[in-house]
């Protein structure tokens, strides 16, 4: 049985232009598998999370919305008709809104939920226009007709820009990411996991689908996609490392990963624009692969973060600490997730990074050094900054001594919450060791998007599989080598004095947990280098005089898009709208007059 064969099911639907048409091609299959895995894990975890929340997360609505979300996600990735897609998309968005607002007793949750609702509907508005235009051009609302139609370069540009606005809002592309860092901390953790792992990836799925419809883009647009992706990635990771709330940190890290995926996708578009099939397929393959990877390690981290939040009662990095000793399983899974997201071998993240770097650095496909070198070095910068942000996250949360009473008494959650984390962590390790099956699926999807027959890139695909096989083997070798050295160490220490002692305090005898390095101090040297981009506001009252009584320092890194650009834009907008607002004054008679005038005008026009 060929798992990658195309399967379709079409049933009539009474709505004009609509049909209940679902299908499974390689791209859908990749994302459907991810949806099922992540929703399964997050749903199972959610049961434990709801039970352990002592009524803070209302059980029945949370279950209802989560199941609706899961089903809607399945339809989003399999829909083959624009109306079915939009219906599933909207159901997904509303169910996610329901989940985000689970704890609607808190004002900040209500604010985050509303922001999410506004953003997702703005995005849907663009999608409505996009599909209306596609439908008008193709003469039907079936995806197969969208793909069969021919588009002029101007149409392609317009459609992709619309798609970028609509799908990018969901995915969290700069500067449309504004809802992510608000909604993810507000949602219960299993919902954050599903949202970060699959809901925002639906934006990527939509973009890939759209690129499959319209065909090769003009070169400048492809390059702009690369630049946009890199800007998003750099922005996301810089803001991630400036955060104190660890779920916010993870949300910004999602922005970073989406940026990397968009950059890879842009590289694929560039390959397609310049009619180089291997580059096009490799770029799209890398995008799909990294999206799938992100769908594994980000839910894992959110689930672990949720367990920590429940155990300690705080999302503040500087209130956690010492949890590796108190929550050994959660800590271990978190360590795996953190290493995977940093792209470290032998885990899955490395495979995705390797594919992107191969596109950029491997000579012989005629890439332009002017594109590849800056992209590669920016990706390297982003990768290294990821290590800063994620060691900050894992190190502050799990290592050292507990910084609060909540952290001191923390315990591992119930098995029902640990098993899903274990499954996701095992997937991260397994994909790192055996990348071949996922690569085969991603290549098939990439070839579909690039509209290249799989046979045309078969030699290259075989070579990538072979090279990644070597990477997997070396990964296995690394595990073995680590195991062997561990055994050597154990053998050396056997029978010798292994004593407990205090941490070296530089001669100071009474260190306390509060003297540990804090999150802000950990990222300070890095933030200092990028101070111009972060624009952190500080409030510093130094100690003055001979007998200073009080000194304080606080810093806050506000999101520029949400806190600066959006208000400025909204002010400008409301100024413009004050003109038409004159006809909206609340007098019912006038409104009825408008309605009747409108009807008369329409009648006159049609008569």
């Amino acid at each position: 049985m060929n798992l990658l064969a195309v399967r379709e099911l079409a049933l009539p639907w009474a709505l004009p232009g609509a049909s209940f048409h679902v299908g499974l091609d390689p791209l859908s299959a990749c994302f459907l598998a991810l949806v099922l895995l992540v929703c399964g894990c997050a749903g199972l975890y959610g049961e434990g999370y709801i039970a352990a929340s002592h009524g803070h997360v209302p059980a029945r609505p949370a279950r209802f919305f989560f199941l609706v979300l899961s089903v809607a996600l399945c339809f989003v990735v399999t829909a083959r008709n624009a109306l079915l897609f939009l219906a599933a998309w909207e159901t997904m968005a509303l169910a996610a809104f329901g989940l985000v607002s689970s704890e609607h007793g808190k004002p900040e949750v209500r604010r985050a939920g509303l922001l999410y609702l506004l953003c997702t509907h703005t995005g849907t508005l663009f999608l409505l226009v996009l599909f209306a235009l596609l439908g008008r051009h193709a003469g039907s609302l079936e995806f197969s007709d969208f793909a069969a139609a021919a588009y002029s370069p101007a149409q392609r540009t317009g459609l992709v820009l619309l798609g970028l606005a609509g799908f990018g809002m969901k995915a969290g592309v700069l500067p449309l990411h504004i809802w992510l860092q608000e909604a993810h901390p507000a949602a219960p953790s299993h919902a954050s996991a599903a949202m970060s792992g699959v809901v925002i990836e639906m934006g990527i799925y939509g973009l890939l689908r759209l690129l499959g419809f319209v065909g090769p883009l003009p070169v400048p647009l492809s390059l702009s996609l690369v630049a946009l992706g890199l800007a998003t990635a750099l922005f996301g990771i810089l803001f991630a490392l400036a955060q104190r709330d660890f779920k916010r940190l993870l949300a910004y890290s999602s922005v970073e990963n989406i940026g990397i995926v968009v950059a890879a996708l842009g590289l694929g578009c560039y390959g397609a624009s310049t009619a180089r099939a291997p580059l096009a397929v490799l770029g799209f393959t890398a995008a799909v692969f990294h999206a799938l990877n992100h769908g594994l390690f980000k839910p894992l981290l959110f689930l672990a973060a949720g367990a920590v939040y429940q155990a300690t009662g705080s999302r503040d990095l500087d209130a956690a600490g010492g949890l590796q000793a108190r929550m050994p399983w959660t800590g271990a899974f978190m360590a795996v997730g953190a290493a995977a997201i940093c792209g470290l071998p032998p885990l899955n993240g490395f495979v995705g990074e390797w594919l992107i770097y191969s596109w950029l650095l491997r000579p012989g496909w005629g890439q332009d050094l002017r594109l590849t070198a800056p992209t590669a070095s920016l990706l390297a910068l982003v990768g290294a900054l990821t290590v800063v942000a994620l060691t900050k996250f894992y190190g502050l949360v799990c290592l050292g001594q507990p910084r609060s009473a909540g952290a001191r008494d923390a315990k591992d959650p119930a098995g029902v919450m640990l098993v899903p984390m274990g499954v996701l962590a095992a997937c991260c390790a397994a994909v790192g060791l055996f990348p071949a099956p996922v690569l085969a699926a991603a290549v098939a999807a990439g070839a579909d998007i690039a509209r290249v027959p799989l046979a045309a890139v078969a030699p290259q695909a075989e070579e990538w599989a072979r090279l990644l096989g070597v990477v997997g083997l070396l990964g296995a070798g690394l595990w073995a080598l680590g195991g062997a050295l561990w055994a050597v160490r154990a053998a050396l220490l056997r029978g010798r004095a292994v004593l407990p002692g205090p941490t070296w305090g530089c001669g100071f005898g009474a260190p306390s947990a509060r003297m540990q390095y804090s999150g802000s101090s950990y990222s300070q040297p890095t933030e200092r280098v990028f101070a111009g981009l972060l624009a952190t506001e500080t409030d510093f009252h130094p100690a003055t005089g001979y007998w200073p009584l009080k000194a304080s320092y606080s810093s806050r890194t506000a999101d520029p898009a949400l806190d600066r650009w959006l208000p400025a834009l909204a002010d400008r907008f409301s100024d413009w709208l004050s003109v038409p607002r004159r006809i909206q004054h609340g007098r019912l008679q006038s409104y009825m007059f408008y309605v009747s005038a409108c009807l008369v005008a329409l009648l006159l026009w049609k008569l």
Binding site: L360, A373, A376, S377, L381, L467, L481, L493, Y517, P525
Partner: protein, 299 residues
């Protein structure tokens, strides 16, 4: 036979050469300072002594602290299989350069987490500096790799760092060498970024992260650090040294490594450590050097 030679070369490079290299660096520093200096193999003796000891573990630490040195050394050894010492590396494939860079990132990740596991502010400080500096060294390394891969037509360390046929004075190579040398100094915590000899916790980067390690763990760390320095020095040597007639590949590599050790020793003897806030500037300079090298490649 060839496999045997390769395995023997690998064993030598993985076990002894790193300590000889460090010994030569220390001898150079001693000579410039007018001292006799420790024996060439002193660091090897240190490692052997540490391997024979027990250990003291802080009660704050967990298995993460014990895992750090083990995984760090494993990652560095794995990276060593990719580096061509004399003729060919043990393992070579298109794209191994990326793996090489990421294996060092893995070593850094576990060293940093092991340091944070102690809950000591000193080690937090060291980790924080380490990750900050490497976030600027990484782009320089990848840019240099991009430039070399473009020149060599291959993304494998063996191809990218094949010895030049004559004395190479192409400006792009000079710039690549300069950039790599700065990365080497920064990544291996040498002067002017970090002073490997200092014993004041507040000023250190790498050494402060391993303050709490002892016994076999510290032996693993010291050996891993020496090996990392050697690997990067080997790459640098292969970039500049043509095969010296009469010496063969091995002799050339040995001679080149001695030269690299002397160069590092001279830098350490003649320069003071930079102020911490100026280290990023040095690293940005190395990125710029790599970028200029690349621009020359665009012709």
């Amino acid at each position: 036979m060839e496999t045997l030679t390769a395995a023997a070369a690998f064993a030598a490079m993985a076990l002894v050469v790193p300590h000889v290299l460090l010994g030569l660096v220390n001898k150079t520093k001693a000579a410039v300072g007018g001292r006799r200096g420790p024996p060439v193999l002193q660091t090897l003796y240190d490692v052997r002594k540490l391997l024979g000891k027990g250990a003291v573990y802080s009660t704050t630490t967990t298995w993460m602290f014990r895992l750090g040195p083990v995984v760090g050394l494993a990652a560095t050894l794995a990276a060593a299989t990719l580096v061509p010492l004399g003729a060919v590396p043990l393992v070579a494939f298109e794209g191994d350069a990326i793996l090489f860079a990421y294996l060092f990132a893995l070593a850094r990740f576990v060293t940093v987490t092991a340091a944070l596991d102690t809950g000591s502010s000193f080690e937090g400080m060291g980790s924080s500096r380490e990750v900050a500096f490497s976030s600027l060294a990484e782009p320089a390394l990848i840019l240099t790799f991009a430039s070399l891969a473009h020149q060599a037509g291959s993304l494998s360390l063996g191809g990218m760092f094949s010895p030049p046929t004559g004395v190479h004075s192409a400006a792009s190579t000079v710039l690549a060498v300069g950039s790599l040398f700065i990365v080497l100094l920064a990544e291996n915590s040498r002067l002017p970024v970090d002073d490997p000899n200092t014993h004041l916790e507040l000023t250190m980067v790498h050494e402060v992260m391993v303050l709490d390690h002892g016994g076999p763990d510290l032996a693993f760390i010291l050996h891993g650090a020496a090996l990392k320095l050697t690997l990067m020095a080997v790459l640098l040597v292969r970039l500049v040294m043509p095969v010296v007639p009469g010496l063969g590949a091995w002799g050339t590599a040995a001679l080149g490594l001695c030269g690299a050790a002397v160069a590092i020793g001279l830098v350490e003897s003649t320069m003071a450590r930079l102020r911490l806030v100026h280290v990023p500037q040095l690293l940005v300079a190395s990125v710029c050097a790599a970028a200029f090298g690349l621009l020359l490649n665009l012709r």
